[in-house]
Symmetry: C2
DNA sequence: ACTATTGTACCGATCGTTCGGTACGCCATA
DNA sequence: TATGGCGTACCGAACGATCGGTACAATAGT
């Protein structure tokens, strides 16, 4: 994907994650990107759905690069977890920016976008669980904690939005850290 | 509010919480309620916005009755927390049903509905904190745990949706219970 | 008879989408 | 070095469909 197009996708992603799939019109996208509606169809022949799915796939690749990779890179479980938390905090603007996956998971009801978003969330929990298993934590317990950590991240984002403050998110991240590093 | 109207509001609430504000059209509401558009405008002269705000106010009243009241009614902190958890588990169908407040908080971007939904989420955390303070837990710590519990509930709902299973939600609730009852 | 409630028909606006067409750069062939 | 064709990128205008909302007459319940 060219840099040019990646920038466009980035702009569209910011719309979708803040307003959900149905909350964003092609007019909005046109205004935000500076491209005419017909130009958007040049880049995304599949229309709005292709714009959204492209955005999701970019998010998937970002997760791979900025979340999963740090989760396997550190020299100790603590440093791996801290690496992920640091990345995640950056991605979500310290709690100020909504999660694209959660946004599409909720707003598309049983469409293909929601299915893919759900898949990525499950993958996320799975990768965390794998990191724990590599440290000798039993399989089911690792899975339990992985899911719990993702729940804390997502719940932290929602409460941070409700409180209009990054503090709830940061508290949730601290709790997730404790859960993941408990022995 | 008459029983008749309360039923209508309930049907509309189920639409909004599953698809968000923008994902529901008046046609959808008309089909789901069996009422023509004119009938809907008879009951809700303010249109879609009034339908949504009525739905939110009904949710507020339900929270008061089924969540806040149990939170003050038990004879021990443990029984109060368990009362709330039991009610909450029922309200969300064991994790299968999305949260109306979270749905509107996210899909309305900075509209009045999102503001009200956020207010109710903050109130929820506050009520939990109050229950903890009544047991001697220090103010800031009580507030921290209240917010954390709400985050676990909301995050549990999202992960449960991603996994298409009530299990993540139940795990999140169990964790919330532990957090709230810790000494 | 009166009021509450509803169905039918319709409104302008906006939705996602498609169309015809233009500008520009690359590359082959003459 | 011209020239003509071709692919990429973009645009304004318009499409049919649906959006939220309204006017009004008919019906139902008292």
């Amino acid at each position: 994907m060219s840099n040019q197009k990646a920038e466009i996708v980035d702009v569209i992603a910011n719309l979708f994650r803040r307003r959900g799939y149905d909350g964003v019109s092609l007019g909005d996208i046109s205004a935000a990107t500076g491209l005419g509606k017909s130009s958007l169809y040049h880049h995304f022949p599949g229309g709005k759905e292709e714009m959204a799915s492209t955005v999701v796939e970019q998010a998937a690749s970002n997760m791979q690069a900025f979340v999963f990779t740090p989760l396997m890179a550190g020299d100790s479980l603590e440093s791996r977890i801290d690496g992920m938390i640091s990345s995640v905090t950056g991605i979500y603007g310290g709690g100020d920016d909504p999660c694209l996956l959660a946004s599409l998971l909720s707003s598309d009801e049983n469409g293909p976008l929601a299915e893919r978003a759900g898949e990525l969330i499950r993958l996320w929990a799975d990768r965390i669980a794998n990191a724990l298993r590599a440290e000798g934590i039993e399989r089911k317990e690792a899975r339990r904690r992985g899911i719990l950590a993702v729940a804390l991240i997502q719940g932290g984002l929602i409460t941070s939005k409700a409180f209009d403050s990054g503090e709830p998110f940061k508290e949730a991240m601290a709790t997730a850290r404790t859960v993941l590093l408990a022995r």
